[in-house]
Amino acid sequence: MSEITRKICMLGDFGVGKTSLVERFVKQAFSAKYQTTVGVQIHTKIIERPERNLKLVLWDVAGKNALDGVRLSYLQGAGGVIVVADGTREATLRSALYVLMQARQETRADLPAVLLVNKLDRLNDWEVTPAALLEIRKSLPVFEASALSGEGVASGFDSLCERL
């Protein structure tokens, strides 16, 4: 069966859980130990589909609250982006939206994207309010997720895949 390949970039501030989300999505695993990413880490996952399998090449880009030249270079050829925020740090939501804006400026304005708000397992510590997410949902698919429990992770990735 033939397959199509799509490049997806994971963007967002450091410590929001981009690597953990990818690990959860690709390997169904989670590590509580924080391991920072330098540069970009490449993962692949094949999504089986009736007509044609979809090969995702996931670019887990090192976290920062804005995209510099190096990070922008990773975006070349991206079919979609997943911007990630940490629900327990409100500032990371702003960073996520900002890097998405930068990414779309760098690539194309209609670059498919979803927002994953991670750490749903620590809902009691969330600074991101439902009202803020409701506002964002008007222009961007938003998924509350937990890399730890896996909740919402597949939904977020699936949503983007449908839009690629």
Binding site: Y34, V38, G39, I42, V70, S73, G77, D125
Partner: protein, 458 residues
């Protein structure tokens, strides 16, 4: 380090390889055709774990990695972590027929950067967590603080309500001295005579009740014009409570003067004029459709006392004086008070003892009141010496706290020793044992329910 030296390599790539050789960097080159089919692997590909990858897999991997990159010198991706765990800098070169991917091993450099970055980010995350915990603690502290303020406010309101009740009860006691005399039929000295006094005594009594919260003065303190300082006190106390409740952080003063017919009390407070509710309470006895505030309750009580005295009150308001200045003038006739028909003594005495142990200043006031009239108040009575003293010098009346088993037992023993005077037990009795003890001691019981009913509080 083995570098590819095949003449097919483009010059730009060769130049890069020379540079890398000088820097002693490890690298390799993978060559593809225009459709990303593998042509050749150059250099130390095993260092990059690419030697055992099938051609097709290698093609797929680099096609995906280089997706969207321009195939010219300058197309470069730094610090790319390959799926096989190797981290490389990746550069693209092209000739007419081939695409060359130059891989430079940067694992050492990336590892150093990772350590530094890991420490910096962990520190920042830790710092954020700490500040979050601090914020939470502060929020919890503020919540507790506001709860504490609310509790203190409620306590203050409870105290205020209690104060008003106290004033009301004390007022009844003091207004009904004659009835008290009838109850205590063999009092040693006529209370009527003692209760008459000067403005100075009135001031002392008022100060005793409201402490130093309000400045109280008289034009001629020595003037002995009052038939009953206690009765006058009972009328003026609610007014002072009103002033205090209304002007917690401002000054209030009371000036007293008297002539042969009337006592004149002029209360001055800073602040706003009487509002419509306060005016309605004071002059029309109209209650609002809600709970009364402390100042409103005090005002209602003032009106009530004015009714008892047949007194009257006037107000004036000077808006120009600072935040405004309200002046209330009470005129109280000084003729001998009319004793109400109902016997409020039971109410008064019972209530009095009920509050005695709660409020030191009231305890002091009541103690003075009792002792001035030749009565003894015994707080420590359960000794043989006290019993002998009682039998040797029997008082006319013994008043015991019904809820205090020791007090009732003492009365019982006094009866057994031959005491034949009157005995009163104050307070409600809930236990059958206490009822029996009071009965055995031949005490007349004054209940608190009777007090509440008589005061309209039930």
């Amino acid at each position: 380090m083995k570098l590819p030296t095949t003449p097919k390599l483009p010059n730009t790539l060769l130049n890069s390889l020379d540079e890398l050789r000088l820097k002693l960097e490890e690298c390799c080159v993978v060559e593809f055709d225009a459709s990303w089919q593998l042509i050749a692997r150059h250099g130390n590909v095993s260092r990059f774990a690419l030697h055992d990858l099938a051609d097709a897999d290698l093609s797929q991997l680099f096609q995906a990695l280089c997706m969207g990159l321009p195939r010219t010198r300058g197309a470069e991706l730094k610090h790319v972590g390959l799926p096989n765990g190797v981290t490389v800098d990746l550069r693209l070169y092209s000739s007419k027929l081939s695409v060359f991917v130059l891989l430079v091993d940067v694992r050492e450099e990336v590892e150093k950067a990772r350590n530094w970055q890991q420490n910096a980010q962990e520190t920042e995350l830790l710092s954020y967590e700490k500040s979050r915990e601090l914020r939470k603690t502060r929020t919890r502290g503020q919540t507790l603080k506001s709860q504490n303020i609310e509790l203190r406010r409620n306590l203050w309101l409870a105290h205020a309500a209690h104060d008003l009740l106290l004033i009301q009860l004390t007022a009844h006691v003091r207004a009904d001295q004659t009835a008290l005399l009838e109850l205590l039929s063999h009092a040693r000295e006529p209370l009527q005579k003692q209760s008459a006094g000067s403005l100075g005594e009135l001031i002392d009594m008022l100060r005793l009740c409201v402490a130093d919260r309000i400045d109280i003065a008289a034009r001629n303190p020595q003037q002995s014009a009052l038939h009953s300082t206690l009765r006058a006190t009972s009328a003026l106390l609610p007014l002072l409570v009103f002033a205090h409740a209304r002007n917690l952080n401002a000054n209030a003063s009371l000036n007293l003067s008297a002539d042969a017919h009337a006592l004149k009390a002029e209360l001055t407070t800073s602040g706003s004029d009487l509002n419509s509710v306060e005016s309605a309470l004071l002059w029309e006895r109209l209650l609002p459709d809600r709970d009364l505030s402390k100042s409103e309750m005090a005002l209602l009580l003032t009106a009530d006392r004015l009714d008892d005295f047949g007194g009257r009150t006037t107000r004036s308001f000077n808006a120009g004086a600072g935040n405004g200045e309200l002046k209330l003038t009470l005129s109280l006739p000084l003729e001998k008070p009319v004793i109400p028909e109902q016997t409020r003594v039971q109410i008064a005495v019972g209530a009095l003892f009920w509050v005695l142990s709660q409020r030191d200043e009231q305890l002091f006031a009541v103690r003075q009141f009792i002792q001035k009239r030749g009565f003894q108040m015994q707080q420590h009575f359960d000794t043989e010496a006290m019993l002998k003293r009682l039998i040797a010098h029997p008082p006319q009346v013994i008043i015991a706290d019904a809820s205090d088993a020791a007090a009732v037992k003492f009365v019982f023993r006094a009866r057994a020793e031959g005491y034949v005077g009157r005995t009163l037990a104050l307070g409600s009795l809930n236990a059958s044992a206490a009822i029996k003890a009071v009965f055995d001691a031949q005490c007349e019981q004054l209940s608190e329910s009777g007090i509440a009913e008589a005061l309209g509080l039930g």
